[in-house]
Symmetry: D2
């Protein structure tokens, strides 16, 4: 560019040193860019394109934020129209036509068909806002402080959410001790012999246990960041039953697994449970725009007006794309059935890969289109993801020791794309284990040239 | 609408009961909508339009989020183009062309001209993310826990930010005691006799004072939510000097007052200080899109990669509008000079109003285009804002007892619009105090009909 | 008495209402006096005498404070001589001849024969002072905050000690949330199937578990207040090994079980472990005088001079009786062998009682002369203790639901006295279960008349 | 001694190295012994004797624990008789004749003459137990967490008490952040211009101040450890009035200043206030025995039975000496009048010393027989105390920088002894400032030989 006071030229590149300014100006905290040292420019569906034109198949989907792919045309059309007509972009918690449209869609396409009567709180633009609001409300409603969380749970980086997050490196970033939380074993965490909730139930039954009666339990049905650990429907029902029995609120953090990632709109539907509070974000806007929701049973709605607030609680563009996404994908069960079928397709292929590498302790995990390959060998999952990237596939690692190569393709990824990605993955595992020929040249740049 | 599975018709109204669904589905926590019981639909510049077509002059600007007005054409053009070409909308902390463009603009138009060498952390989409990151970093860097905040400071609703926020109702929403913070008197808080920092300096000088050595001080230069309380340049310099003297980090929360609200880009420029950490959000994207920044002196950048993360840290649309806004408004000092001039214009008129109501203890406060009228009589500011709304002007109250009628017009508001709004305000004060004739009929709907 | 300005006449009784002043002036927090509504006056060995002359056999021993019985003649002689010659009664942490004598005794009779090289901290007069000092030191030494405690552990009522205490009623008295602690299952707490430390080890092995690395573990070898729950030597060795493996300090709280209660001087000797920190109090002075010790491995002694202080850290009388007790009871292994033999005698008899009431789910528990009878039926243990009191035997309940009748006779109780007490207990259980004849008349008053 | 298994010979000395065992076995935390490197053996009245026979005049009194001097004959007689007849030494919270006698004395000699209707809680043996119980009760009663404390307040080393203690070195020993407390300026702490309670009142009046409404205020009338800072009666009345006005409980920690140190039994009597809760310890037993009390207004007595407990809550010996002390010293106002007169005598002499050293910024402080000389020059107070010790006078430093030489002579110190000590002090100040001849030889050893 000739200078910032003139028109920006997106997509033009500074031939010499396209990444220098990131390294110079961005904090060391940046992370994904270290694994994928390219500058992305455009995207559509399940493909991203670097500014060189180099395409990448996306099995990452913005860490689960792009369940409907990049820049879905139906959502894009509504968004462009909304913006073009000078609609309300920023609305705090004022009433707007866009919010009303979203509420109508959410009511008719999500709540009513599932027999749910949640009230909606718009807690701020990010998942951590939804979690913070959920924790605050649970504590205010019950008058208790402790929240039970689970090993390898991930709920966000703000101080309240971080206290119920397991990762020690991220916890250490707080700079203060994190309190008012108690960690419990997630499903299948221990030796496979210990009965579910043996420990939690013992603590709750025993007035001398040292666990102060909890306000709430917060749980993910599949722990995406924690290693693609899945809670079985039985375990989830057990947890819901335990919460009801002891008068503890059940919060399902569906930020990554909701909006269809595991098949149904809510990931807990399969278990047949109804949480007291649900958090949603990531794919909620459908277009990658910041947006979050805290759903609460009506009797829990003890908030005073304004007791929790925030600047970005009324994002018109996100209301619009979220409503469009509900209309496009959740008016019937097509997407849910397709996701389950695609999930099976991925599972079968991952099982094959795992079987091929059985000598190295490789196993498949997951549900729906949240899948992972877990590797016994330290560092192997990262090697695999690097090899996949070299071959044009974006995947990230997951789990406390980064021991899982995680697959979160957009739900809209075609079967052909899934197969293409899985082929790359299979080759990447071979490569990472030193069993292969050098990678083939990546696909030619410029595939999406027509749109640029 | 005929049903959510068909195309949404924004702007169409359900004649019978346009607000029923908000009241039925939204949590009680909603607040602004209670003061302004209309459904907003479109906006441009300093005007919002209800779905009835009724226009409202905006002296609220999304609580300081819309410093450049609603849907500014220059920003809109870039945004539409960006979206139309399927650019990256959601990018976590990957490198993208949009982020690079933003970095280049911020470097060349903000940092370099001011001789600043901050590194940029993208902490998440909301101001509270910027604050949480600032607090975490300050604690991690210093190895200390306590953060000094000020009476009537406002920094956000997440647990870390809430601990340094003064408002007791909002603090009560936490449901747990808030710790690791110590409150100090803001400028001019006490009796007007007590020397600045007498108490804080005494605490720091005395190893028996009971104040654990602080990691940081967090301060707003003008407390927007806390009552439009202004810190003088002298006081800010005193605070900066004290921080340097005692080895305490200075965090300026410029979320509401930055981006030109008080005149210069950073509100602390007038004082000639350089904080260790600065938080920005609200008007940073320029278009009302969720976006936030934490700026840090390079030597403070002790983050581990990924130690603080979050889903919405790479918002392409916000990068684009933010860069466009910098190009449109910060390539020279035109906006700054205009804002100062407009601020004076507003101040003079508010002084007149205050003088007219001197018997009722009315006074003017503020800096730049952050202004307030403070009323001695409990409830009077709310009455005034209600009367202003009835006359087509949007203003909110501020301060611990809602004792201030706050004016945050877009900086792009014309002088004519300012005068129009101030006329309404003058009438509203008269009305609220029972000194007036009934309000004139509001302006005709449909002014912006051409754009709808 | 004729009035408080004249000489006090201890042992004289106010015939009308001997208890009125307690009820009128003492806080509701008083507790034991509610179970034993008599006014005690004198005591010797294993007998207490009410002011009526009514004797009571003592299977309570001041909650484990009187391991050598009441007013042991050898200790008494030294104490009286010490006081008579105007020795130092109160010495803060000055050097005194009495403290030197105590140190010499403790070194030669306790530390050296056991190959221990602990340093001694005099942390204050009560067990909670010893615990608070231990926790502070462990945190200061490691730079970590979390301390692992165990279900039904009891460590005291001050805020630090209370945070590692299990009992919910006592925790609730804090009035603030208790933090920096994590509760773990004590030995045999779960289902008898779960391997020892399965959960703790999993948490420590997993950097995503949500347990911040602990500074220390605090444990009792037998939980006296928590229900006479015994940790096996194997479990204790496992815990010590785990602490060493993970670099966590091991604190054994030997306040109730030390000083010979389970046989050896330290209750952990049987397990063959060497804790990093040991707390002692209760029977340490041997005479019921307030006294406490925190023992620490020399390399942990990172205290600054005066960093932990307190008024009653140099109690001359307690130094003297403690030294006398060591000389009288710990110069050889006679007491240890006798305690183990007596413990077996008690165990056998309790087993008989348990067998007789097998239909009611009665079982024996304990080690050495810390024993308990646990009852399935709620309230039964309290009934048994009440029936025992009616028959002249003092025993208290224990456990989170007061489900255990606890036996802590002085170690010096003769076999005949043990049998006498166990006969009463057997009758009390029968009575409490409705299987008996009315209680026989208690023994005649006045046995100790010669001393009064 | 010939070995610890034979009779202890108190007072015999090991000629070679009498202090080696302290240095070898005691933790580095020991402190007073570093200033006074002798081994004390006996004491009577206001004199201590080292084992060499060397006498020391005591202007320290066990840090205020020995208001009636060492081993007062009247108390000693009762104590020896009590022990000789095998009375109850350790009684938890059982009823005992000794406790009843104490209650009767306290009721008739302390409470009734002053029109007080406090209930008594025996919270454990140490002052920190009294403070912890007070804080817990205040929080439980009010349902609030924050306790307001004052700069340079000292309340104890347990975690709850430490949080309201000012000293940073001692706070640092906690190893965890200390919370639920807010520090405020003590009387005359600021510039002498700032009106009393300007800041606290502003915080309480302002719902946006960031101070959560406190449960209680805890205050000393004279801060003994904090530098002999005195609160004026006016300030104390202002504080009591403020507490009443805002519904905050007033806790006076009278552990060091109660029992006559400032003249009256309670140090707050002069101000004419009635605290809600009072803590007593130190001189309460009158003989240096561990003993503490928490006094509470009857309506605050919301404790559950056993909600706060502890092993050493029923110390028979302390009940006896405490009752004897009340009878000996508080049956009329003789002691109070004498203390005030002696205090004046001390004050006059200290003023003379201060005047002589006016060039060096020396000033007098204090009330009753709690007095101090404050020195501007760093390290000077310690030098003075060292010089005093060399001349046979025991005094300690006080204040956050050890800037005060503190005088706490027993109240029973004769005028001649006071003059003797003040002569030594005057010489010690001269010496420390290099204005004197070498010290005269100390008094001959063996003065109290008849008692040994």
């Amino acid at each position: 560019m000739t200078g910032p006071t003139t028109r920006a030229h997106f997509g033009e590149r500074n031939a010499q040193n396209t990444m220098e300014i990131f390294e110079r100006l961005e904090s060391n905290v940046r992370s994904y860019c270290r694994s994928w040292p390219v500058v992305f420019d455009t995207a559509r569906g399940s493909r991203l394109y670097a500014e060189t034109g180099q395409p990448y198949l996306d099995f990452f989907a913005g860490a689960g934020t792009l369940n409907y792919g990049h820049n879905h045309p139906a959502l894009k059309a509504d968004l462009l129209e909304y913006l073009a007509r000078d609609s309300i972009v920023h609305g705090l918690d004022q009433y707007t036509t866009a919010k009303r449209t979203f509420l109508e869609h959410f009511d008719q396409l999500v709540l009513r068909p599932r027999g749910l009567d949640y009230k909606l709180q718009f807690p701020g633009p990010a998942g951590n806002n939804a979690v913070e609001a959920a924790l605050k409300l649970a504590r205010k409603f019950t008058g208790r402080e402790t929240v039970v969380s689970f090993t390898n749970g991930f709920h966000g980086m703000t101080l309240g959410a971080l206290a119920v997050t397991g990762n020690s490196m991220k916890r250490g970033g707080a700079g203060v001790p994190l309190g008012h939380a108690a960690t419990m074993p997630f499903d299948n965490y221990l030796d496979g012999q210990t009965p579910d909730f043996l420990w939690l139930r013992a603590l709750l039954d025993d007035s001398g246990s040292g666990l102060d009666k909890p306000a709430a339990v917060i749980v993910e049905t599949v722990q995406g960041e924690g290693g693609v650990n899945t809670a079985s429907p039985t375990w989830l029902r057990g947890l819901a039953g335990l919460c009801e029995e002891y008068g503890i609120l059940l919060i399902v953090d569906d930020i990554q697994m909701g909006c269809g990632r595991t098949g149904p709109f809510f990931s807990f539907e399969e278990a047949g449970i109804t949480p007291d509070i649900v958090t949603l974000s990531k794919s909620l806007s459908g277009y990658g725009l910041p947006f979050a929701l805290t759903l609460l049973r009506p009797e829990l709605d003890v908030w005073e007006p304004g007791e929790h607030n925030g600047t970005f609680r009324g994002p018109g563009p996100a209301f619009v794309t979220a409503a469009a996404a509900l209309r496009a994908f959740w008016a019937d069960d097509t997407l849910e059935r397709q996701t389950l079928a695609k999930g099976e397709r991925v599972r079968r292929r991952l099982d094959e890969i795992a079987a091929r590498h059985a000598d190295a302790g490789v196993a498949e995990r997951g549900r729906g289109l949240a899948r992972g390959l877990v590797f016994d060998e330290p560092g192997m999952a990262a090697k695999v993801c690097r090899a996949a990237f070299d071959r044009g596939l974006l995947m990230e690692t997951s789990g406390p020791e980064d021991e899982v190569a995680k697959l979160l393709p957009p739900l809209t990824t075609t079967e052909a794309e899934l197969d293409e990605g899985l082929d790359i993955l299979a080759a990447a595992v071979d490569a990472a284990r030193g069993l292969d020929a050098p990678p083939a040249a990546p696909a030619e740049p410029g595939r999406l040239a027509g749109t640029r």
